[in-house]
Structures are given as structure tokens and as C-alpha cells.
């Protein structure tokens, strides 16, 4: 509350606009907005300008195209809700594909028939989709994307998770993946994109992609293409080419784009076969990665084992048995509960002859 007041007194008009529409606007805030607008002419102008702008936008409410999108969006919402309900009732492993096929028309020019198609994978599921133009998308576990193909563009919105794209070149219709911070345009290419909380990761397996920054008002820096094996920190470039063998990571909270060249691209494409490879990686990282593929989460109970170095290959279908193997080579103890798996330090070093180790 106090924070909002402070923001009104010192911040941008945009914030006031937001608060005015919020259902938590307090009397003190309303008075503060009023008083600042009276004192601060520029603020008032900005606020008036944006509110006038909103009223102007309202004139579009009766526009047929906007209406069509609005009701289609609504349709997706309704479908999504019923699909969620449906999904909750399905057994694990059953794929949920809500192919919400929606038609709407493009802004200018003749009717540009578009088809919005949504694809979803559940935790532990992977799926390969061939798109109309022959491009192939592989979705990793717990992912969701929307395909928006038009006459002049091919757009993908990655809403969640990780996907691998093998793109068929079409100069007339660029292939673009929309991300929260920007977009990736393929220049005849194979690449993978992963959305991970506030971070996006783009790895180029073949060819080149262009990263576009969406944030406006940031001066375009000359976008140096990284060379050599070191990580390069680039402060918010407007466009940036990323070549084969490179990985770019964007952190939304830090507003920072970082590119590096990993020793192997295995991590970014290997998952497509359902196998995960780890080479000398800390146990903690391995566990986090494995947890993406299973509802039954693995928890490390003892911080002393987190840094243990792990090298192994795991099938995403057989994570539990992989842990059994790990238990033999590392000083850890794996405790299987009905809803989770706990990893702790092993008590009596080599004296582990537990009955549950009897294999199937």
C-alpha cells in the first residue's frame, strides 16, 4: 500500500493508470493521484494523454477484426478451462492436445486466414509435430506453444517449457518464435528454445538465428557477435545474430542477454530421444533437470551431497532406476516415498545392503 503511494508521488504516470483500474485503489491513493496531477503539469499531461488514448482505443471495440480476435481469445479461454478439468481426470501419460483451431482475419489487405493451433505436453511427455510447411517442432516435457501461421509470417508463441525447431526455409514467410523479452527468427535452421522461469535459453544447433529485443526505448547497441569461447555480456541489444554452436540466455529480471559456447550441444538437443546425458555435473543440477520430467519430485535432504559430481545417461522413462544406479556409485542414500524421493548422505559408507536394491 505504502509502496503504491510512494510510486504515485514519485513514479511514472503509467503506474497511476494501472492503479486507477485496479480493484484495490484506496482513497489515499486516489487523493494522491489527484494532488500530484494538480501540482505536476507534465505528470498530468502524461496521465491525461494515456487516458485519452484508452478512450480512443475504445473506438476500436466495434471493429469486426478486433471483435473476432476478442471472441476467439475468449473461446480459447473456455476451451482451456474445460481441457484443464478434463486433463485432471486423465491418467498420467495420456497426451492432451487441444487443437483449438481458430480462424481470424488479418489487419490490412485481403483476408489472411490464420489458424491458431495449440500444443501441450504433460510432465514426462515429449511430442513431435509436423507443421503445415514441413517444419518440425519437438516439444519437451511440460511445454505449451501456439502456432500462428499466416500468409506473411509464421509465428510461434512458446508459452511454457522447451521446444526444438527444425525449420524449412521460406523467404516469404519468416519463422519467428515469440518470447517474453523478444523473439527469435530462424534463418533456415535447427534450434531449441527453453523458457525457464524468468530465463529464456536459445541454442542454435544448425545455421543462424536472429534475436530481436522487444523492449523499446533502449538505444540499439552495435551488437557484437561473440567470438572465442568466453561468455559475453551484451546489454540489451536490439538485434543479435546467433550462430551454430552458440547458446544465448536472457534473464528477464536482470534484463541481461548473455551468449556462450558450450563444449557440447548435447544438453540442448539430446533430450529429443528421451535420453538425458550428464557429464561431471553437480548432483543438485542433475536432480533439478530430472525433476522436470517427473511428477514425483526428487529432493536433496543433505546439502553435503549437492556438489557430488555425476556422470550418467538416463532415460526419462526410468529416472527411478537411474537413481538406484547412482546410489551404488555415490555416497548417497535414496529414500523412496509414495509422493517424493529423498536423497541424503549415506550413513554407514559401504555397509549398504538394503533389501530394496534387489532389482526387478
Amino acid at each position: 500500500m505504502l509502496k503504491n503511494l510512494q510510486e504515485i508521488l514519485n513514479g511514472r504516470a503509467e503506474h497511476a493508470l494501472h492503479r486507477l483500474w485496479s480493484d484495490q485503489l484506496s482513497e489515499a491513493e486516489a487523493a494522491a493521484i489527484d494532488s500530484r496531477a494538480r501540482k505536476d503539469a507534465r505528470y498530468r499531461e502524461e496521465l491525461d494523454g494515456s487516458l485519452e488514448f484508452l478512450a480512443r482505443v475504445e473506438d476500436l471495440a466495434d471493429d469486426g477484426d478486433i471483435q473476432a480476435i476478442a471472441s476467439d481469445c475468449r473461446q480459447v479461454l473456455l476451451e482451456r478451462k474445460s481441457n484443464l478439468r478434463l486433463a485432471a481426470g486423465l491418467a498420467a501419460g495420456v497426451l492432451v492436445a487441444c487443437g483449438a483451431a481458430l480462424l481470424y482475419f488479418s489487419p490490412l489487405g485481403g483476408p489472411d486466414e490464420r489458424l491458431l493451433q495449440k500444443y501441450v505436453t504433460r510432465i514426462g511427455e515429449q511430442k513431435t509435430i509436423e507443421l503445415d510447411d514441413g517444419s518440425v517442432v519437438t516439444l519437451n516435457t511440460n511445454a505449451q506453444l501456439v502456432v500462428d501461421y499466416g500468409n506473411r509470417s509464421r509465428r510461434i508463441l512458446l508459452e511454457r517449457g522447451e521446444a526444438y525447431f527444425e525449420v524449412v526455409r521460406d523467404n516469404e514467410r519468416p519463422f519467428t518464435v515469440d518470447l517474453g523479452f523478444g523473439s527469435v527468427t530462424a534463418l533456415g535452421t535447427a534450434f531449441s528454445v527453453r523458457k525457464h522461469r524468468e530465463r529464456y535459453q536459445v541454442a542454435v544447433i544448425e545455421g543462424t538465428v536472429a534475436l530481436h529485443e522487444l523492449a523499446e526505448e533502449i538505444p540499439a547497441s552495435p551488437a557484437p557477435l561473440p567470438t572465442g569461447g568466453q561468455a559475453v555480456v551484451i546489454a540489451a541489444p536490439s538485434e543479435h545474430l546467433l550462430e551454430e554452436g552458440w547458446v544465448a540466455e536472457f534473464d528477464i529480471s536482470l534484463d541481461e542477454l548473455r551468449a556462450f559456447r558450450p563444449e557440447s550441444m548435447e544438453r540442448y538437443e539430446g533430450w529429443r530421444g528421451g535420453m538425458l546425458g550428464f557429464y561431471r555435473e553437480p548432483l543438485n543440477d542433475v536432480v533439478q533437470e530430472l525433476n522436470r520430467y517427473s511428477r514425483k519430485k526428487i529432493l536433496i535432504e543433505d546439502a553435503s551431497v549437492m556438489e557430488l559430481s555425476v556422470s550418467m545417461v538416463v532415460s526419462i522413462q526410468e529416472i527411478e532406476s537411474a537413481l538406484k544406479g547412482l546410489e551404488r556409485v555415490l555416497p548417497i542414500e535414496v529414500d523412496r516415498r509414495y509422493d517424493r524421493i529423498e536423497i541424503g548422505a549415506s550413513m554407514g559408507d559401504r555397509s549398504r545392503d538394503k533389501s530394496q536394491e534387489v532389482g526387478p
Binding site: E14, A16, H18, R19, L20, W21, D23, L25, S26, E27, E29, A30, A31, I33, D34, A37, R38, R44, D48, G49, S50, L51, E52, F53, L54, A55, R56, V57, E58, D59, L60, A61, D63, D65, I66, Q67, I69, A70, C73, R74, V76, L77, R80, S106, P107, L108, Q144, V146, D148, R155, L157, E159, R160, D178, G180, S183, L214, A215, E216, E217
Partner: protein
């Protein structure tokens, strides 16, 4: 605040005297639920305290004549509130425009110029139409997630939380999309204005 003693209320029809009991009940219900939110909004929009109640009354009186109101208000509370706030905003903006026009007109008269200041000159209509077209193009050209968030908020009056649920992201992210979408459209609008003048 006693309405009957306020001379400004003369032109306003009393809700109770209106026909259509169903509509009246709906409007009264909306009043009970959202009048306070509207008052705060109007205060925040620098409507003088002694005029707030008049504007609220006027808005609710207008609701009696809104086409298909029942349909529009069949949604959740959040959407209804947002609809009313949008209506209030439009009302204030129009009021402001009219005042500005009036003073421009007065200034023109004082300057003894022949120039007529009227909202509906052909030039103005065309300019407004072009501006709308440009804004629409800007909406259609923006990234899908911005577009969806923006349209649902503005034209379906959905709350950030509802949109977040729909898009599978957090409300903060929705806020982010909408802010960016608005900036993009405003930029287009400013550019148009800059070229027009």
C-alpha cells in the same frame, strides 16, 4: 450528499421513475457494487469532490440506455467494474474534449477569425479514421502474447488475473505485456499526430 438539492441534477432523470424494472434492478445492483470504485476512480481523475456524485449519477443513468447491457454484465464482478471504469473514463475524456473545443471556439471568436472550430469537419473525421486504422494495425502487428493480453483487457474487460489464467503466465507478466502493448500503440499514435500537424 442530497441529490434533490443539487441544481445540477435537474437534467438527470431519476432512476426510480424509469420504466423497465428488470434493467432498473440490474443498474441498482451495479450501483451498490461499484459506485464506490467509481467514486475513487473519479477522484483519482481529478474530478472535484463536489462533482463526483453527479458524475456517478449521470453514469448510472446512462446505463439505463446502454444496448444489451444485460449481456455485457453477465460476466464476473471484475469485468463489470472494469467496464464501468472504462465508461467513466470515456465520459471524462469527452467532457474534456468538449471543453477544449468550446474554449478554442471562444478564442477563435475573440480573434474575430472566420475559422470554425467544429469537431466534425471532414478533415478531422478523416484524420480520426486514419489514426484508428494505424492503431489497429499496430495491435495486429504486435507479438501474439501482447495482442491477446491487450485485447482481452481492453475489449473483454478481463482482469489481469483472468488473463494470466488464460495465458498460463503470472499476473505480473500480463501487466508487462499490456504495458508494452500500450507503449507500442501510443508510439504509433504519436507518430501519426506528429505527421498530421
Amino acid at each position: 450528499m442530497n441529490r434533490s438539492f443539487n441544481p445540477r441534477n435537474d437534467g438527470i432523470i431519476d432512476l426510480a421513475s424509469q420504466p423497465r424494472p428488470g434493467r432498473r434492478r440490474l443498474v441498482e445492483q451495479l450501483f451498490d457494487q461499484h459506485a464506490q470504485a467509481l467514486r475513487l476512480f473519479l477522484r483519482g481523475r481529478s474530478v472535484p469532490p463536489d462533482q463526483v456524485e453527479d458524475v456517478v449519477q449521470e453514469l448510472f443513468t446512462r446505463l439505463m440506455d446502454v444496448a444489451r447491457l444485460e449481456e455485457k454484465m453477465s460476466d464476473t464482478t471484475g469485468s463489470n467494474r472494469s467496464y464501468l471504469l472504462t465508461m467513466a473514463n470515456n465520459h471524462l475524456v469527452n467532457r474534456h474534449r468538449k471543453r477544449k473545443l468550446r474554449s478554442e471556439y471562444a478564442a477563435a471568436q475573440r480573434g474575430n477569425e472566420q475559422e470554425r472550430v467544429d469537431e466534425r469537419t471532414p478533415e478531422r473525421i478523416v484524420a480520426a479514421q486514419l489514426e484508428l486504422e494505424a492503431m489497429k494495425a499496430a495491435i495486429m502487428d504486435m507479438p501474439l502474447n501482447w495482442r491477446v493480453a491487450f485485447i482481452l483487457q481492453r475489449f473483454r474487460n478481463m482482469s489481469y488475473e483472468e488473463i494470466a489464467l488464460h495465458m498460463g503466465v503470472r499476473a505480473k507478466q500480463v501487466d508487462n505485456y499490456i504495458v508494452r502493448a500500450m507503449r507500442r500503440i501510443r508510439k504509433t499514435q504519436r507518430k501519426m499526430k506528429g505527421e498530421g500537424d
